[in-house]
């Protein structure tokens, strides 16, 4: 599937901090420059921007996100919460949250280039949905280990979400459980995203 390959800083200036897309942070000056003349945002724009935040953070196409929304809608429970759980359990995102990659596009490339094992088998699909008790390891060759080691060394030491366990010496991560909503890696109002996709015609 195609993905966004354009300028990233432009996106974070518009949408705010997107840790999955880039480790850069929007500066104060750029935010002021970007404010449009009309301070009042329409309801549609508020929902659209929230949806775009989600899309660019997780590196999804519009079609992929729409599929996830439909799956979440069929599941029991809050559609928004289920949507975030589905996105957080993607393999590329799990690698990013473990610190094995600095951004989700980097994690995506690691997976695509077959540097990652899940339960002892190569998985090269970034959208692979991880399950509780999945073991994620670096492929046992020097190139793969070096790539992941570099990321682990340079990733900021943030508190690991409670649904993941990392064994840095073994380049291994474990998925303990389905993510709890308070550990989601993006500050977002998921209800706005569901409202964007709910039929507004």
């Amino acid at each position: 599937m195609s993905r966004y390959r354009g300028p990233r800083f432009k996106k974070i200036r518009r949408l705010g901090d997107l840790p999955g897309l880039t480790s850069k942070r929007p500066t104060v000056g750029s935010e002021l420059r970007n404010q449009s003349s009309s301070s009042k945002k329409s309801q549609y724009r508020i929902r659209l921007e929230e949806k775009q935040k989600l899309r660019f953070h997780y590196g999804l196409t519009e079609r992929q996100l729409l599929k996830y929304v439909r799956i979440a809608g069929k599941a029991k429970g809050s559609t928004g919460q289920v949507l975030l759980q589905l996105l957080e359990m993607r393999l590329d995102n799990i690698l990013f949250r473990l610190g094995m990659a600095l951004t989700i596009p980097q994690a995506r490339q690691l997976v695509n280039h077959r540097h990652v094992f899940v339960n002892g088998r190569i998985v090269d699909i970034p959208s692979y949905r991880c399950k509780p008790q999945d073991i994620i390891t670096a492929k046992d060759d020097q190139k793969s280990i070096t790539l992941i080691q570099n990321s682990l060394e340079s990733s900021p030491r943030e508190e690991l979400p409670n649904h993941l366990t990392l064994h840095p010496s073994e380049y291994k991560g474990l998925v303990n459980q389905i993510i709890d909503s308070k550990w989601v890696g993006l500050k977002i109002n998921e209800l706005l995203v569901v409202e964007y996709y709910s039929r507004q015609t």
Binding site: Q43, G77, S78, N189, L191, E195, S198, R199, Q200, T201
Partner: protein
């Protein structure tokens, strides 16, 4: 056993947003036409124009109050009208249906403008026959907990909720 049936209400945040934790003690089945309402199921607004068929279990000597409310009005992300009250019926004898009770507020069907709304039917057991019950002055900013405390109804004895969202209109050429 009964506690297990509350679980979808916790997941759907019905317990918390509208009612407090309770133990169901009365059976309540709800149908919109042929469609049986189960917790979290989708009901199209077009099939919920008329009041649902509600059947209660329980002793005919007991009286019950039924309210139907929407905690997501006008939109789930900003529920500034929480709760929008759709229906209130009091003095429903056990083992019968709301037609045998006294309608305080007439039924209006779901009309969610945006987003997926929860519509919650809450059943309370009365301590005795209701005297004069005032009709709420407005359908918006209703509070189920406050209503129950005003009428001394205590905790609910049964609750079921369904989801509903705006239906797509036929595109005109």
């Amino acid at each position: 056993m009964m506690a297990a049936s509350v679980d979808p209400l916790v997941v759907g945040r019905v317990i918390g947003d509208v009612v407090d934790m309770f133990i169901p003690s009365v059976g309540m089945s709800v149908y919109f036409g042929p469609k049986h309402v189960t917790n979290g199921c989708d009901i199209k607004p077009s099939i919920a124009i008329n009041p649902p068929r509600v059947t209660l279990t329980g002793n005919i000597d007991n009286l019950y109050t039924l309210v139907m409310t929407d905690p997501d009005a006008p939109s789930p992300s900003e529920p500034s009208m929480r709760e929008l009250i759709h229906w209130i019926v009091v003095d429903i004898p056990g083992g019968t249906n709301p037609k045998r009770g006294k309608e305080i507020l007439p039924y209006i069907g779901p009309k969610p403008p945006v987003g997926i709304h929860r519509f919650i039917l809450v059943l309370f057991k009365q301590k005795g026959p209701m005297g004069l019950v005032e009709q709420p002055t407005s359908r918006v900013s209703f509070n189920t907990r406050y209503f129950a405390s005003q009428l001394d109804l205590g905790l609910p004895v049964a609750t079921v909720y369904f989801n509903s969202q705006k239906e797509p209109q036929a595109k005109r050429r």
